[in-house]
Symmetry: C2
Subunit: 206 residues, 2 copies
Amino acid sequence: MVAPLQFWFEFASTYSHVAALRIEAVAGARDVPFEWKPFLLGPIFRRQGWSDSPFNLYPARGRYMWRDVERLCDTYGLPFRRPSVFPRDSLLAARVACTGEGQVWLPEFVRRVFRANFAEDRDISDAAVIGDILGSIGQEDGPLIALATAAGSKQRLRRETEAAWDLGIFGAPTCVVGRELFWGHDRIDEALDWFLTKGGGSCPNT
Amino acid sequence: MVAPLQFWFEFASTYSHVAALRIEAVAGARDVPFEWKPFLLGPIFRRQGWSDSPFNLYPARGRYMWRDVERLCDTYGLPFRRPSVFPRDSLLAARVACTGEGQVWLPEFVRRVFRANFAEDRDISDAAVIGDILGSIGQEDGPLIALATAAGSKQRLRRETEAAWDLGIFGAPTCVVGRELFWGHDRIDEALDWFLTKGGGSCPNT
């Protein structure tokens, strides 16, 4: 069985916002199956010696990114407002997304968290905000947040982040097809091309 | 008069190689005029606290880049062989390219320098190699190299690199249209779209 394309994303990442709001449509249009793979960039940045987002550490890079994301969202018709806090703590959202693997509510949860952070300037580290989002898609927030913050779920997100690093992932979003990485919202089409022409191959981390 | 699109590139940069070998065809296909803008990334990296290419400083990023560039060159049918030295000292090549502004030989010089570095593994810091390339396109290398290494030409490349930084450029290649930056070989099409739909505007650094 061909492994699906993996879409690795981080809720605090601006370019993940652009990609997460588009991937279902662009992959769907080409009939490419994909998996949502939430992970944390923080531990990966720290391994590279960064204590903050490189967009904050390197202001020229940051200035470009904010303009670029605004322009991209305008081009694609995606909602965007520069958040008052960047990067936001995405730990709780990522834990909830991890527990939602394979659930029908996951894609809409992911998109609503990105919208909350990058279009509505809401604090996605606040359990009340995550609870609101779960409620808005018809899920009971209490049990899901309890599950997401239990030891097993915490461990699971840590393992996923380790798996991302082991795959060679250093930024988000990253599409993975077999052993090939495609980093950046602007490389989704190439990842889809690769999937369709070279095949997904076996899933690299299972 | 509408200012042309500016194509800022660095001879030591792998993604500039990919872009430089393609831009004349892709811009030409859409009738977009562009200028070759050589500059040096070294001084811009040093301002950001880097003493080396970030591809060397951050190995995960570097591993991805080498695979990505190999894959891109394969896709586009461009020559590529990973050079034995990276990044190569591009000072002389950039000075020669600066003195060639508006000359008919410049585009082919640029492409041959990139090929020498990234397909033939030749040392482009060596005046004999640059001389060979000039000779291969029918130019007398002696006078051109003398001109390129005269004080005025050195100053000119410094000014261009300053202008790049003032525009907000932090990496290469970068296309500039009016005040808009498009960083990366993979954003040329968007720069062309911007040029054609929003217009080039006045040249930002004149």
